[in-house]
Amino acid sequence: MKVWLALEKQEREVGGVKTVRQLLNHFSYKEEEVLVINKKESRLLTLDEKLEKEMDLRIIRVVSGG
């Protein structure tokens, strides 16, 4: 599936992950640090949500500094 990392402004192709929780582990993100968006449906995904190959996802980092 395609995953757009908003902060890094990079698109990655990710395989072998079945849930949002696994996706966050793949990128070493903590739950409190990000939101995962299903781009086509324009909705947020919870950690238990099952992922499919054709999904187009966005990961937004929510932590801001300063």
């Binding site: 902060l7 968006i37 909705r43 919870t46 932590v63 500094g65």
Partner: protein, 295 residues
């Protein structure tokens, strides 16, 4: 995961509250909590003229959106800090946001006053950009708030908890005494409120997304390596192990502060000898900064 309220498919799970919510119920949950904070801390009334500081980010634009939705008399205030492309993009976001919602915005440009942006000034005076930026923004906001009765900022629970942690590490008695979701007007200092003090950064980002707010996703380039980000990282680690700790940390402190730090709260703020802004020093930090960069 199903929404705890309506059993529809959930869009967000809030670990610290142990609830999953759908979009409609999350928006309702978020707005009711902020409204409660505004009332409990007597932050705003509908007769107030509220100046809302906006940066183009999720918290400040979300706050301005919500206060407008709650029918408060709001005006936005944006400071162009002259941080290259980052400032241009954030100003664009603020303009698009305000035009779409019919909210007027006051824009101030640091480069007009100083001939250079925050990055250059921080290098010149050899101070960490974030602390310098915070001080300058607080000063300019207060100066711009002349005809307004309250200044509102989008500081969230993560900001407040990380500030508290930093102040505790350094035992900053004065700052600890004054850290509060609402500070009443004192002398030349306008009343300041932080209605998002008890909502997490993630909740704030989810609210902005669900309400269709197009905010700047990029991090300020000057904030790279900022101490506040490190404190947030620590707190997020703690939060993962013990959900709700961040909130208990801040709320517990505010209870403790009332009983033990009142003296510090009332400590020696006096008018700056040059501009009259309340400060603990003879001449305020902003005047000392201007003196340095105008030499």
């Amino acid at each position: 995961m199903r929404c705890k309220v309506c059993r529809e498919k959930a869009e967000i799970y809030l670990r610290s509250h142990n609830i999953a919510l759908c979009r409609g119920d999350f928006i309702d949950f978020f707005e009711r909590r902020v409204k409660k904070v505004i009332e409990e801390w007597r932050m705003l009334t509908h007769t107030d003229r509220v100046l809302v500081a906006v940066s183009g980010g999720k918290d400040s634009l979300g706050l301005l959106h919500l206060l407008k939705k709650l029918d408060y008399n709001v005006t936005g205030y944006y400071i162009n800090l002259g941080i290259d492309e980052y400032s241009d993009v954030s100003l664009e976001k603020v303009k698009e946001f305000s035009e779409a919602r019919g909210i007027s915005i006051i824009v101030e440009d640091l480069r007009v006053a100083w001939g250079r942006g925050m990055g250059e000034v921080a290098k010149e005076v050899r101070r960490p950009p974030c602390s310098l930026c915070g001080m300058v923004k607080r000063y300019l906001m207060n100066r711009a708030a002349g005809k307004f009765s309250v200044i509102a900022t989008g500081h969230n629970l993560d900001d407040e908890a990380s500030t508290l942690l930093g102040n505790l590490f350094r035992w900053e008695g004065g700052y600890l005494g004054r850290q509060s979701p609402a500070l009443e007007q004192k002398g030349g200092l306008k009343k300041r409120v932080k209605p998002l003090s008890f909502t997490t950064e993630r909740e704030s980002a989810a609210y902005a997304f669900m309400e269709g707010i197009d905010y700047i996703l990029e991090e300020c380039p000057l904030a790279t390596g900022a101490t506040s980000l490190f404190y947030k990282e620590i707190l997020n680690q703690v939060e993962e192990r013990m959900p709700g700790t961040r909130s208990r940390f801040l709320k517990g402190f505010l209870d403790f502060q009332g009983e033990h730090l009142r003296k510090e709260k009332e400590n020696a703020l006096r008018p700056c000898a040059r501009c009259g802004y309340l400060t603990t020093a003879g001449v305020c930090n902003f005047c000392r900064l201007e003196e340095k960069i105008r030499r």
